[in-house]
């Protein structure tokens, strides 16, 4: 498996950092499982994708599916640290209009705090 996932909590917000590729199979399954796990205890999650160099169509499908189910359960996922390729992909697929995307982890965390204030 190419994808490594690491979870930490900063200022009360759970951050899941991904490193590697998110592609069909184990990788997207691992991402789905760990996000689902995180969402059982946190309603505000930042997904740091700065270490992701490639995401294929299945990986994107997973991302959307987890995002949609989080939203319908009253939780929120914000994306941070997208590389150019992923930005392009979200642009082409118009998914930039769906996700909340931030340049980096700190900005995403700050956005959660602004929302809460």
């Amino acid at each position: 498996m190419d994808l490594k996932l690491e979870t930490h909590v900063t200022d009360g917000i759970t951050v899941v950092s991904c490193h590697g590729r998110i592609v069909l199979g184990e990788d997207s399954a691992a991402l789905r499982d760990s996000l689902k796990q995180v969402l059982t205890s946190s309603r505000e999650v930042v997904l740091n994708l700065s270490g992701v160099n490639y995401i294929d169509s299945s990986g994107l499908g997973t991302l959307i599916a987890v995002y949609s189910s989080a939203r319908s359960a009253g939780a929120d996922i914000k994306l941070a640290g997208l590389g150019q390729r992923l930005r392009d992909l979200l642009q082409i697929t118009k998914l930039v209009t769906v996700f909340e995307v931030y340049d980096n982890e700190q900005q995403a965390i700050a956005a959660f705090h602004r929302g809460a204030a």
Partner: protein
């Protein structure tokens, strides 16, 4: 014991003993099992071999089997049946004969009397026994050889055949009258094979002492010999009375422990705590011979070897099942290819070409084209994921879009309907990116891009990539879709690709990327130029994803 070549019931289909026909059509070939007679060939869909070519008659020919010989018989076909180039009415087939049915150029059939690995356990055993077993060998030596030979058959044998062979060997060694193999299933012990000493099949009946069988399975012994004459307690049991049973030998078959070597000397004594997977049961009546004195060595050898034989045979069966699954997959692949085989409509104002390279057996790309009064409509889609699931969705989506294009629905409504279908059906994480476009006679191109790689508009060797786009189909239920329009001039081209092209990878992990695609599209004349550019770039690294390229040239 003399191990004569054993003749018995023919083995079940799938054991590789049937002759095959290799059907070659153009660049494709497939192997067809000749497992029944007569085997029919013709253009009609109910034929065993359907050749869809007008030169093939509807009822063209049959292949019949008699006494192991195969014969092809022409059924009065219009264009004739040929064997090795010679027109025939009826001919006995030999190995590698080339058969042609009406069509003399693009398709033919090659006859193989047997599959390459057609040795059945029986044939093989009879050969082995003929070579290795001398009449001076002791029974145990024979058994050892016999079972070892049978074990070597793992690559070709199937379970039923192994069981019958095992039973016959056991009956000969023990001189018992009847023998049965029971195998454990989810519903308890089920009879898997039964034989009497004449080799006739036996079914389960109440004369089998199930109580002794149960006792043996519960015991920790390698085998249990029950002499009813020695046991007052047993005399009252129903089957023993009913069938006048004298001796019952019951050998529990326990799952063999994993062994590092296949050397027969290294076989460890059966671990009596191991899982029971069945039982070997033989018995004799009072009126018949006494089998209670069968040597313990023989029973031990059977106990040790039979279980591993059966286990190995089961593994072979599992492989067989997986092979069949592979066959199913290739059938699915041919259906998929059939759907991909688009008949490109001829229109006076435009020229269309499309080509797909699949990375796996089947993929989620498709393209299609429909000519209507509104113009020529095309769709190129890529369903996320790979394999059967992607292909299933691709086929469904293709059907939906095709019918709606034919019904001249507005493009935005077509994709909105497809999106509703996908999201209503909760297809999980699967979705599709697609472009649907319609070009009018006057050169106006309307298209909807749903998350797909942006099209390349090539005008005078200059490439334009419109930024227009929408959400993919099937991701979000409330997505709305808009179309974009542009006017083409004679000579302008539209190139559509799936991301398998832009994300084709070379050995260094670089992608083909948009800039390389644009460069080759700007100067290419044909689709092949794009495919060869991708192939050159990948330099032998296999494709990760399906690649499809569609090119539309507006001729005015």
């Amino acid at each position: 014991m003399a191990l004569q070549p054993i003749t018995g019931p023919t083995s079940s289909p799938g054991s590789g003993i049937f002759p095959t026909l290799v059907f070659v059509q153009g660049n494709e070939q497939r192997t067809i099992t000749l497992d029944h007679s007569p085997f029919s060939v013709g253009r009609k869909v109910d034929k065993d071999l359907v050749i869809a070519d007008p030169r093939v008659s509807r009822d063209h020919a049959i292949i019949t089997s008699e006494n192991g010989q195969f014969e092809v018989v022409d059924q009065g076909s219009k264009h004739g049946t040929f064997v090795n180039g010679e027109r025939i009415q009826r001919k006995t087939l030999e190995r590698n004969d080339r058969l042609e049915f009406g069509v003399r150029d693009v398709s033919y059939v090659v006859f193989h009397p047997h599959h390459a690995t057609s040795n059945t356990a029986r044939e093989f055993l009879s050969q082995i026994s003929g070579i290795h077993i001398s009449s001076e060998s002791t029974d145990l030596e024979k058994l050892t050889l016999f079972l070892e030979a049978a074990r070597k058959l793992n690559t070709t044998g199937v379970l039923d055949e192994i069981l019958v062979t095992l039973l016959e060997a056991t009956l000969k060694l023990t001189r018992a009258e009847r023998g049965y193999v029971f195998l454990k299933t989810d519903e308890g012990m089920r009879l898997a094979a039964g034989r009497n000493s004449k080799g006739e099949p036996l079914l389960d009946d109440k004369t089998i002492s199930h109580s002794i069988l149960d006792d043996a399975l519960k015991s920790n012994s390698e085998f249990v010999v029950t002499d009813t004459s020695q046991s007052l307690e047993l005399k009252g049991r129903q089957s023993i009375v009913a069938y006048d049973l004298r001796t019952v030998i019951c050998i529990p078959l326990r799952k063999p422990q994993v062994q590092a070597t296949r050397d027969i000397q290294a076989v460890t004594p059966a671990d009596t705590s191991a899982e029971v997977m069945g039982a070997l049961y033989v018995d004799s009546r009072f009126a018949s011979r006494d089998i209670s004195s069968v040597s313990n060595d023989i029973l031990q050898a059977i106990a040790r070897e039979a279980a591993s034989l059966i286990e190995n045979a089961r593994l072979v069966q599992a492989e067989e099942a997986s092979r069949r699954y592979q066959q199913e997959l290739s059938i699915a692949a041919s259906i998929q290819q059939g759907l991909m085989a688009v008949t490109i409509p001829e229109v006076p104002f435009a020229r269309l070409a499309g080509r797909n390279l699949s990375c796996k057996e089947i993929g989620g790309d498709f393209f299609d084209a429909v000519n209507t009064e509104d113009g020529l409509a095309i769709v190129l889609a890529d369903v996320s994921g790979k394999g059967v699931s992607a292909a299933l969705l691709a086929s469904t989506l293709q059907g939906m879009i095709y019918s709606q294009l034919t019904a001249r629905m507005p493009l935005t409504e077509i994709v909105a309907a497809a999106n509703r279908f996908f999201t209503d059906k909760h297809i999980g994480e699967k979705y599709a990116t697609l472009i649907v476009a319609r070009i009018r006679r006057d050169g106006e191109l309307e298209y909807v891009n749903c998350g797909h790689v942006p099209p390349l508009l090539v005008c005078n060797h200059e490439v334009i990539r419109p930024r227009h786009g929408n959400l993919p189909v099937g991701l979000l239920a409330d997505a709305t879709y808009e179309s974009d329009r542009c006017n083409l001039h004679p000579g302008d081209r539209v190139v559509l690709v799936t991301d398998g092209v832009t994300e084709a990878e070379n050995a260094r992990g670089d992608f083909f990327e948009d800039h390389r695609l644009e460069a080759v599209a700007a100067k290419s004349e044909t689709l092949e130029d794009i495919f060869s550019a991708v192939a050159n770039f990948c330099g032998g690294t296999p494709l990760n994803d399906d690649c499809t390229v569609v090119e539309l040239v507006y001729t005015g």
